[in-house]
């Protein structure tokens, strides 16, 4: 049984759904959420593309991909291209379900006004740091 929010009222379904996603250890990290969102929008992404996307080091990216793979959300495989062997990441059916859920949560949160559209050039919209 899930804990209820303060005041004994259940949180709205969209926030509850989102909470369920973030209870999963691999999704408690923003870089993994970012990778999963991008893999959900593309049939596959190369390791170099993912480095460009996340801006993290190669070792860190490998660690995040390992975590997603261990959770059954993504797979990686080596493919042979004209430019030589390349590592390619793909989303799994389970990862696809999570991606759809995250997108649905975002749509619902957006409809409720819980996600503010970032104002162009507004410093208040930037992540701290």
């Amino acid at each position: 049984m899930r804990p209820e929010s303060e005041g004994g009222r259940s949180p709205p379904a969209d926030l509850k759904g989102l909470g369920d996603f973030f209870l999963q250890e691999p999704l408690r990290h923003s870089v993994r959420v970012l990778i999963l969102l991008s893999l959900g929008m593309n049939p596959h992404l190369g390791f170099t593309d993912l480095l460009e996307l996340t801006g993290v080091s190669k070792g860190s990216l490998s660690h995040h991909l390992d975590a997603l793979r261990a959770a059954g959300l993504a797979t990686t495989r080596t493919v042979f291209t004209l430019a030589g062997p390349r590592v390619r990441a793909e989303i799994t059916p389970r990862g696809r379900t999570v991606f759809e859920g995250l997108t649905r949560s975002l749509v619902q949160l957006s409809a409720r006004g819980n996600v503010r559209p970032p104002a162009e050039g507004s410093a208040s919209e930037l992540p701290p740091g």
Binding site: S30, D49, L106
Partner: protein
């Protein structure tokens, strides 16, 4: 936040400012929206690259469909059976490549739309996308059918169909990017010039060679659009998502 030495120097301060997402960010709506925003910035880069390949392949396809047959006919008035097989094999290869490039570019656009609309607070217009997809596929089939007629009326009908295809491309480019990029305007503009020019020339002169001649404008325009898109695609990493 994780430092990204090099990225700021390569892509300007916007990359540093807009992502990647916060390493220490707590899981929740804010973290999800930051990740989605960053994913869309990257997706814009991938989409622009895919459209660059789309323009390149269709430019080559127009050469294969319009210029290549005339060159072959001039050089070899009668083709031997192996030559004929090679000729039609090449045409088939180009058709397959064109279909692949179209589905790749449009597929990447469609897959990014839901996320982008969620962040833009827009309602879903998926029905309109599926309608355009169905109309587009139908029109491509019609175009190939009519092209084989090779008559005055057939060519005019072909131009009319291509006009609708151009409108379809325009709407898709507008869906694909927060702002229509310069190469999109060039590609759509030169395509429109080719359609209007070839139809007008056909009606005024009745000469079919003018029809093909005007399509050289689209071939050059799309080749330029391809090079421009592929060269400038990394700039998408520094742009606002428009969300």
């Amino acid at each position: 936040m994780a430092e990204m030495p090099g990225d700021e120097a390569r892509f300007g301060p916007a990359v540093r400012r807009r992502g990647p997402t916060e390493e220490g960010e707590l899981p929740g709506p804010e973290m999800l929206s930051h990740a989605a925003e960053r994913a869309l910035v990257f997706q814009n880069f991938l989409i622009r690259r895919a459209w660059g390949v789309y323009y390149a392949i269709w430019s080559a396809a127009l050469v294969t469909f319009l210029v290549f047959p005339a060159l072959v006919a001039a050089a070899y008035p009668t083709l031997s059976p192996p030559g004929e097989a090679a000729y039609y094999g090449l045409i088939l290869l180009v058709v397959l490549l064109s279909v692949w490039a179209t589905s790749w570019a449009f597929g990447q656009t469609f897959r990014a739309l839901r996320l982008r609309r969620a962040l833009r607070h827009e309602s879903s217009r998926h029905w309109h996308l599926y309608l355009f997809l169905a109309v587009g596929v139908g029109l491509f089939a019609l175009v190939f059918l009519v092209a084989t007629l090779n008559s005055f009326a057939g060519l005019l009908f072909l131009d009319a169909c291509l006009g609708v295809v151009n409108l379809w491309i325009l709407l898709s480019v507008r869906d694909a990017f927060p702002r229509v990029p310069p190469e999109g305007s060039v590609a759509i503009g030169t395509y429109a010039v080719s359609i209007v020019g070839s139809a007008t020339a056909l009606v005024l002169t009745g000469n079919q060679s003018w029809f093909g001649g005007f399509w050289l404008v689209a071939i050059v325009g799309w080749a330029f659009a391809a090079l421009y898109a592929l060269y400038h695609a990394p700039e998408e990493m520094t742009r606002e998502t428009g969300v």
